[in-house]
């Protein structure tokens, strides 16, 4: 496969090599931290060393005297320059949104809360001068543990928010209690989706250039959401939007952590305008661990009701979610983004979900890859395996008895979502085949018979997710302040090149490639002639950016629609220039031809020049071949798939090693299979990391123990296996491209597959759960406790090794 495809051949669905790569592999990349401007000064932030304390004094006088220092400010100094950082999702009527100032001036609420800044001519000088700031604190007891935070008499993170309760939420679909009365089996489990640190490889960075006395400014930011940043700065400062240009240049990963309006963006903006100088701030990694949002941190109490033959009836989930010290842009909505996903792909009669948000003295949480849906998928896929164990059934068979069959689509689930399409049977059959499920089950049984030290465990996850954030009406109904539409412009230029402008803002996903494929396919022009413009509010003024696996399913569809408008305008002009009725023209491979008249044709690029020259246009037609389109989908997209994981667990050391991992995903139509595979690889890696390696750990005083990359285990190449990936393709019926989101799918799917495998390996020791991350120590302790409590399960039970049922051997139903 080469990077150039013949013009006549569709580039849609081809593994086109990426347009982005040339600059990234030669070091010509434009990261925010690379921006250098004349007179630029550097900002450093003094952060609280205490989780919870009253600020009694912050004195920056001595810092101002340090060499190279231009200015220093406390939170009080700048209090009149800003208002609270935004929170955009009012998830319930009782939601408490405390003020969140860019610099704290009364109390600090987590280790890393900013209290003062120094501006110096050199970053080293700025860092040095932080040490000259005198800050005194009156320590307060830290609120770290969620249940303790909710208890009466607990110290209060915000003095006026009783019990540290941020919000409560409850929704019932059907009558869960009625299912309990009828159930043969009632399973209760408590899961914990631990706190994670997103770890985009590029730390956050912002550069603000105040270019005129009227307040006009250019902001470069390592952000996923340049349009959000512009709107907020305009609202917050009163500067008109056209005088605020936000550029997200090359952005080195986000995973949700750059989907925010951060304090440092506002501080740098305010300080740059005050000083009339360009200001740069770039966080260190350790600072990132404290001051960039964390993800997950949700306690999940789960109750499942089912019949003796393995049919699920009802699901009740009670969530307690850690907000951290303040609410960031979307903090309270994250645990609830999964609210409709707890029933997964299964046909439940009833579902009840409750959630309470809790303030603690920890770094605020917010969106991290999957945002609410990994938590939901973990619960449902784990408890389905528990049901299988309880009933001595194969986990695949239990899923088969409960999932929506492919002929039942479109299917409206118990929570009222209508899944448009899917084929769980096909994806599962393919995964079982690639995984050699039956062979592995046999080997597992043999190892158990022999009492091997290293035991084998198999884990399944048949996930779906809702993504493509989107439907503005739905977002509004759930209390979100903005919409979810996306815009695109397609322009054909005089030279024949095509500019595609998108309001999405990529940070590694490859939009310059995939969106060019969409446009090239629609217009029939060479892929190499299409350029995608993004991430700058001056050149792409209308947009809602990139998160929630929305770019292709929303933004890509907008590109497709705009390109089709261009073709229709070109058809009208072609008809005029070729002096034929539009109905007599056919458009194929980038050219208009007169039906039945060989040789009479004009390429769309010739037409584009005609539209530019405008020498002969039909009456009323405007010059230039260009079109805009804004898409607001009415529904979500529902990718799904089956992930299977085999682990080897050393029962003497507790060490888990992934032996094989198979992911068969169905993301609908695929624009670029190479990029889709890459998204799955990276997503699965992050999900495995949650299952086995990563956790942000705090001590009782609210200190982040895993505060550097030394202490927080981001997996290396050696920690991860090679993945086997494949796809089934069930097109989405709700958009013209037939596409579904893929950015978060791997992360959502993989975590329960891995934990199910670990539990499966050690279930004979009487173990029914291992808390994430399943470290050697935790697995080893679980085995010791299991042995103490009665030892291995008896032979002949599923917990022991499991009989194979006739229907688990593969093949679609």
């Amino acid at each position: 496969m080469t990077a150039t495809v013949d013009k006549a051949e569709s580039v849609l669905g081809q593994p086109m090599r990426r347009k982005e790569d040339a600059r990234l592999i030669t070091g010509q990349t434009q990261w925010t931290d690379n921006v250098t401007l004349p007179g630029m000064v550097h900002m450093a932030v003094l952060r609280s060393p205490m989780a919870h304390a009253r600020i009694t004094r912050v004195d920056v006088t001595a810092a101002r005297e340090r060499p190279g220092v231009v200015a220093a400010y406390t939170g009080t100094d700048l209090a009149d320059s800003w208002s609270s950082l935004p929170m955009a999702w009012t998830v319930s009527e009782d939601l408490k949104t405390p003020p969140h100032m860019p610099l704290a001036s009364d109390k600090v609420r987590y280790v890393g809360d900013g209290v003062a800044v120094v501006i110096a001519t050199d970053p080293y000088a700025a860092a040095d001068a932080l040490e000259a700031i005198e800050a005194d604190y009156e320590p307060l007891p830290a609120v770290v543990d969620m249940p303790a935070a909710l208890a009466d008499g607990a110290p209060l993170v915000h003095d006026d928010i009783p019990n540290n309760r941020c919000f409560t939420f409850r929704q019932d679909w059907g009558d869960f209690n009625a299912t309990r009365a009828r159930a043969d089996v009632v399973l209760k489990r408590r899961f914990y989706n631990q706190r994670l640190i997103p770890n985009a490889m590029e730390p956050r960075s912002v550069v603000v250039a105040p270019t005129s006395a009227t307040g006009q400014a250019t902001i470069w930011s390592a952000t996923q959401v340049p349009h959000f940043v512009r709107i907020f700065l305009a609202l917050n400062t009163g500067v008109p939007e056209h005088q605020i240009r936000v550029i997200a240049p090359d952005v080195g990963g986000g995973f949700g952590s750059k989907l925010d309006i951060y304090a440092e963006e506002v501080i740098a903006f305010v300080v740059a305008r005050k000083l009339g100088k360009p200001v740069k701030w770039t966080e260190t990694r350790s600072e990132n661990y404290q001051a960039t949002i964390h993800g997950r941190d949700v306690i999940q109490e789960v109750e499942l009701t089912a019949t003796a033959d393995g049919r699920v009836l009802g699901l009740k989930v009670d969530l307690t979610a850690d907000m951290g010290g303040y609410l960031q842009l979307l903090t309270p909505s994250i645990p609830l983004l999964g609210r409709y996903m707890y029933p997964g792909i299964y046909k439940f009669e009833a579902h009840t979900l409750t959630c309470q948000g809790v303030f603690t003295n920890k770094t605020p949480t917010d969106a991290y890859r999957g945002a609410g849906r990994p938590e939901a998928t973990f619960v449902i896929e784990r408890i389905i395996d528990e049901l299988a164990a309880e009933l001595s059934m194969d986990p695949i068979e239990v899923r088969r008895r409960n999932w929506i069959r492919h002929e039942e689509f479109p299917y409206t689930t118990v929570v009222g979502l209508t899944y448009d399409s899917g084929n769980y049977e096909a994806a599962t059959a393919r995964a079982l085949e690639l995984f050699r499920y039956d062979e592995l089950r046999r080997e597992q049984a043999e190892r158990r018979d022999r009492g091997d030290t290293v035991q084998l465990g198999l884990g399944t996850s048949t996930y779906t997710e809702m993504c493509g954030l989107a439907p503005s009406r739905w977002l509004g109904e759930t209390g979100y302040a903005a919409g979810g539409w996306e815009s695109a412009t397609v322009r054909m230029l005089a030279t024949g090149r095509v500019e595609v402008v998108t309001g999405t803002s990529p940070h590694g996903q490859g939009h310059e490639t995939t969106f060019a494929q969409i446009a090239a396919n629609s217009l029939g022009v060479p892929y190499d002639d299409v350029d995608v413009i993004h991430g700058d509010t001056l050149t792409a003024p209308i947009g809602l950016d990139t998160y929630g696996s929305r770019s292709l399913a929303v933004g890509g569809v907008a590109v497709q629609m705009a390109a089709q408008k261009v073709v229709e305008k070109a058809r009208a002009l072609a008809s005029h220039l070729m002096e034929v009725d539009p109905g007599d023209l056919e458009f194929q491979a980038g050219a208009f031809r007169v039906k039945g008249t060989p040789g009479a044709e004009k390429s769309i690029q010739e037409i584009a020049f005609g539209a530019f020259a405008a020498h002969s246009l039909p009456d009323g037609m405007q010059p230039v071949l260009t079109a805009d389109h804004i898409v607001d989908p009415e529904v979500f997209s529902y990718p799904h798939g089956t992930h299977l994981c085999a682990v080897e667990v050393d029962t003497e050391t507790g060490l888990t090693k992934i032996r094989s991992y198979v992911a068969v995903d169905d993301v609908g139509k695929v624009v670029n299979p190479m990029i889709v595979d890459g998204q799955v690889h990276g997503g699965v890696a992050q999900g495995i990391a949650q299952a086995l390696f990563e956790e942000a750990v705090y001590d009782d005083d609210g200190n982040l123990i895993s505060g550097t990359m030394v202490d927080y285990l981001v997996p290396t190449a050696l920690d991860l296996p090679a993945f086997v990936t494949d796809r089934t393709e069930t097109p989405a019926t709700t958009n013209p491209l037939g596409v579904k989101g893929v950015g978060e799918a791997g992360t959502i799917a993989s975590t329960p597959a891995v934990v199910n495998a670990v539990v499966d390996a050690v279930r004979p020791f009487g173990i029914s759960d291992v808390q994430m991350p399943c470290t050697p120590e935790r697995v080893w302790r679980a085995i010791q406790q299991g042995r103490a409590a009665g030892g291995p399960a008896p032979k002949g039970t599923i917990a022991y090794g499991g009989p194979q049922t006739a229907t688990t051997a593969g093949g679609a139903e």
Binding site: P15, G27, M201, M709, A717, L718, A722
Partner: protein, 169 residues
């Protein structure tokens, strides 16, 4: 201030530097070679990896003064009229997404291939253990290094390479 003489990407530099200046900051802020990024402050991530006298080194863990008298290659000096086989392989194998770890990852791979011209998948994973990537799950990075080894003539095609070639086409 201390005077250092270094050759970076084939260009000789003589500069007075603060003894505490990190090599990566010398490259980025003094020489303007911003192709080498910084990803952490504990020498874990490897984003800032360069070659110092042909051996990979994390330029955030070296002082500029320690580089005195050395020859340094950054990502910006890799292509010589055309892309280095490792650059080509990273592009062809889709071994990068956001690209932030890529300069360091490629330079670490070049060092690995200079020591072992025919590394197995396991040896590649070992060799790149000092470089973190958050986007790719390493799968395509491992494939790219393997395919670069073949392109550079040091490796004999194995069955796994054949399978990969089929998957990629």
């Amino acid at each position: 201030m201390v005077r250092i003489n270094v050759t970076v990407d084939g260009v000789r530099h003589s500069d007075d530097v603060d003894p505490r200046l990190l090599l990566v900051h010398y490259l980025r802020n003094r020489l303007g070679l911003v192709g080498t990024p910084v990803g952490c402050d504990t020498s874990n991530c490897g984003s800032c990896t360069v070659l110092v006298d042909n051996r990979s080194a994390k330029s955030c863990t070296m002082l500029a003064v320690q580089a005195d008298g050395t020859e340094i290659t950054t990502v910006q000096g890799l292509a010589d009229g055309q892309w280095h086989p490792v650059q080509k392989a990273f592009h062809e194998s889709h071994a990068l997404q956001c690209g932030y770890c890529t300069p360091g990852m490629m330079l670490a791979a070049i060092d690995l291939l200079s020591e072992n011209s025919d590394p197995s998948e396991e040896e590649i994973r070992h060799g790149l253990e000092g470089n973190l990537c958050r986007c790719t799950g390493y799968q395509n990075i491992v494939a790219a290094v393997r395919s670069a080894a073949l392109a550079m003539g040091g490796a004999q095609p194995a069955a796994a390479d054949q399978m990969r070639a089929e998957v990629a086409s």
